[in-house]
């Protein structure tokens, strides 16, 4: 049921009404249906729950939620009020969950989470993956159906907005955000309050100020913004409405959310959330009966990484190609359509309602440094990381700023999978860097990561084991960036192409004496002569791998050896004695490189082998190995 709220009192009365019906003992089955869980069939699972519940006489609510974070074990299901956590649930388990758990309250052992030591956990909050986190932004994802504004209001949604509209002045909110030390979660780590202040102060002849949300989460390996937009869209909207009041009131603030084209579900959920907010009087003219007018439009990106850069993003909204421009004049003064513009990232906006409702002391008590005098003085609040790659518990992890890499990767992430050895962790996406084992006790905040030659970026954290070649990884990022470079600056366009060519050579075993010096030299040029963040940070993955894993480059260049056995020209496939001549590989090999008849040990003709690895996939005896 959606009602239009004509005042803050209306909203609060409605909230009380909702909360009265929703007691703590209500039976709820919440099924995660974020993009990750969908890849594991969660949508079908939710449908089965719906059908089975309809067939039974049970009084239970089905809640299909956004990403709950523990993607490794997806699809996940949580049964309330006991908070029983089930993982890797299949359609066939549904009737049993309803009769045993929902009806009788007993847990089904085989669906519970068991850690690597064989311990089983029943309640969600006891599972180590969740227990070691500090979830404030993601806390609601499991409690909210993103398509229901009622769910959001029931957990306290839009209360911060109500409080602010009733009691506070815009300048006070800007000041609060400034003193909170909230820094941009998109990667740059620029204090949000400083941006807000300059945008508010900037001259706006016709009163128009643009409030933008950057949802162009292009860093491969990061999906926290996706999870927030998909799982709790109203939190992002509430942050933006608060921003509109603080920065643009009185006057005419206007909002845009720029979402990646690759996130169709986020676009769908945000669109619905905006429509609901308009119907409820939370967006549009006279928000909650006050003088504040503000509306938000969604702009879908076209699949260009560089559009996450502020000026490129604005060019794209204006209907031009997403090329960045020089920022001699800050976008806070002249941004979108030449009006004062404030752009913050999704996660930054999501922090705003929490800072306001829980207060400055709460926020500044989490994190590192001292921001009481200087917003650059530390990193406050929590940060969501996307923990992926070669680690046991992949998923979204929210921890206080300043948590160590070891805490994130081992306590929360459960360390590398059995039999694998940690080698490096890549943070910050294509602009970030690779950190080795010796830096595992590094507290993760904006400034420490930068000192170590990496960066926070938007919070992607990719764990790698000895089967990842660091030269190949640098090559991957360089090619990614060369592809995504808009081509405006010669240094970035041509520089990256040359860096790619050199690293390609090294990976092929054609590295030369002096290549490393050349790479460093060229990297400096790309860093210093490029206009925007893409070019300025493009060499980071290369430089950080050269800094911490130089020996791998050297062995590629001088010994033509790839110790991770990844670089194709430097490896060869061999078959050992355990081959029983089953012919499986023989039949699959596309180039007929495998010789040997039935029951006879096979051999591989290296000159024909394309190193595609199909033989290894089909070998049942693990008789095929890679050598370098």
């Amino acid at each position: 049921m959606e009602t239009r709220f004509h005042s803050v009192a209306d909203l609060e009365a409605y909230r009380r009404q909702l909360q009265a019906v929703r007691g703590p003992d209500r039976k709820i089955v919440s099924v995660c249906a974020g993009t990750g869980c969908r890849a594991c069939g969660a949508r079908g699972l939710a449908e089965v729950f719906r059908e089975e519940i309809a067939k039974s006489n049970l009084e239970v609510e089905l809640r299909v939620t956004g990403c709950q974070g523990f993607c490794e074990r997806s699809p996940v299901v949580v049964v309330q009020p006991q908070s029983i956590f089930y993982q890797r649930v299949k359609a066939i388990d549904v009737p049993e969950i309803l009769t045993e758990t929902v009806e009788k309250g007993t847990a089904i052992q085989r669906l519970l989470y068991t850690d690597s030591d064989g311990r089983t956990y029943e309640r969600e909050q006891d599972v180590p993956f969740y227990r070691h986190q500090t979830r404030s932004l993601l806390a609601f994802n499991g409690q909210i159906d993103p398509d229901s504004i009622d769910d959001y209001i029931a957990v306290g949604g839009y209360a911060a907005l109500g409080k602010v509209l009733q009691e506070r002045k815009p300048e006070e909110i800007v000041d609060l955000i400034l003193r909170s030390g909230l820094r941009g979660r998109g990667g740059g780590g620029f204090p949000a309050g400083v941006k807000w202040q300059s945008c508010r102060k900037a001259h706006a002849a016709d009163g128009i100020r643009y409030i933008l949300c950057n949802g162009d989460e292009g860093d491969p390996g990061a999906f926290m913004d996706c999870a927030l937009m998909e799982g709790n869209p109203h939190l992002v909207l509430e942050g933006m409405i608060l921003g509109a009041f603080a920065i643009g009131f009185p006057g005419q603030p206007k909002g845009y959310i720029y979402v990646r084209n690759e996130y169709p579900l986020a676009v769908e959920r945000l669109t619905r959330a905006i429509e609901q907010a308009r119907r409820c009087g939370l967006l549009g003219k006279g928000i909650l009966g006050t003088e504040l007018d503000f509306d938000i439009l969604i702009n879908k990106g076209g699949g260009a990484f560089v559009c996450g850069e502020s000026t490129a993003l604005m060019a794209s909204i204006e209907g031009f190609v997403g090329e960045p421009r020089a920022k001699h004049i800050h976008t806070a003064e002249q941004g979108l359509f030449d009006k004062p513009t404030n752009l913050n990232n999704v996660e930054t906006w999501a922090n705003v309602p929490l800072i306001i409702s829980r207060g400055l002391e709460w926020f500044t008590s989490i994190g590192t440094g001292d921001v009481s005098k200087d917003p650059w003085g530390g990193s406050k609040g929590t940060k969501i990381f996307a923990l992926v790659g070669k680690v046991n518990n992949t998923g979204l992890v929210e921890v206080p700023m300043g948590s160590t890499l070891r805490h994130i990767i081992w306590d929360v992430g459960g360390g590398p999978p059995p039999g694998k050895k940690f080698k490096a962790v890549q943070t910050g996406g294509p602009s970030g860097g690779c950190l080795p084992e010796s830096l595992l006790d590094l507290p993760v905040d904006f400034d420490r990561l930068t000192e170590a030659g990496s960066m926070m970026g938007s919070g992607g954290m990719i764990v790698m084991d000895e089967s990842t070649c660091m030269v190949d990884l640098a090559r991957y990022f360089l090619h990614f960036l060369a592809d995504e470079s808009c081509g405006k600056c010669v240094s970035c366009r041509e520089g990256l192409a040359q860096l790619c060519a050199i690293v390609d050579r090294i990976c092929k075993g054609e590295g030369r004496e002096g290549d490393l010096e050349l790479l460093k030299d060229l990297s400096t040029t790309v860093q210093t002569a490029s206009l925007c963040g893409l070019g300025q940070t493009a060499a980071n993955p290369l430089l950080s791998t050269m800094r911490y894993f130089e020996e791998e480059y050297i062995s590629h260049i001088h010994e033509h050896r790839c110790s991770a056995k990844v670089c194709k020209t430097l490896i060869r496939y061999v078959i050992d004695d355990s081959c029983d001549g089953c012919m499986a590989c023989n039949a699959q090999c596309g180039t007929k490189a495998i010789q040997g008849g039935k029951k006879a040990r096979h051999t591989i003709d290296d000159s024909l082998c394309t190193r595609c690895g199909v033989c290894m996939d089909v070998c049942k005896r693990n008789a095929i190995h890679v050598e370098s």
Binding site: T35, G36, C71, P220, E262, G322, A386, V388, Y476, V618
Partner: protein, 151 residues
Amino acid sequence: MENAELESILASHGHRPSELLATLQDIQGNENWLPRESLAHVAAGLNVPLSRVYGMATFFSSFSLKPRGKHVCTICMGTACHVRGAQRLVEHVEREHGIGPGETTADLRLTLETVNCVGACAMGPLAIIDGEYHGQLSTQTLGRLLKKLKG
């Protein structure tokens, strides 16, 4: 695409050049690619040079200037998928269907595309086949999924 359809897309965006990106997205949504004639129509309809429309259509990687197949297989090449072997999925499709990224089989049945991360990194390597997400793929499972495609 009929001119009337194009007109209604242009009208739904108020014939505003600032909505060029969204206009092209809608056309591709209907047509599955961007035919030259449609781009010319958009340029005329918005009163902007064809070069600007063409610039947009070639700058953003989600647009295709060639007809795409009946089925589209999009393989995620994000970092997490990369370290878990996404490249081998691409090579598998190249081997089995003879098409590289951005290419379509001669019978217009299948298009292979790559994308830099779809935000389901924990499920990598991952492919989207006709809008359905499939996680933790091996070359064999991907092969089976592509074989199962109808028509």
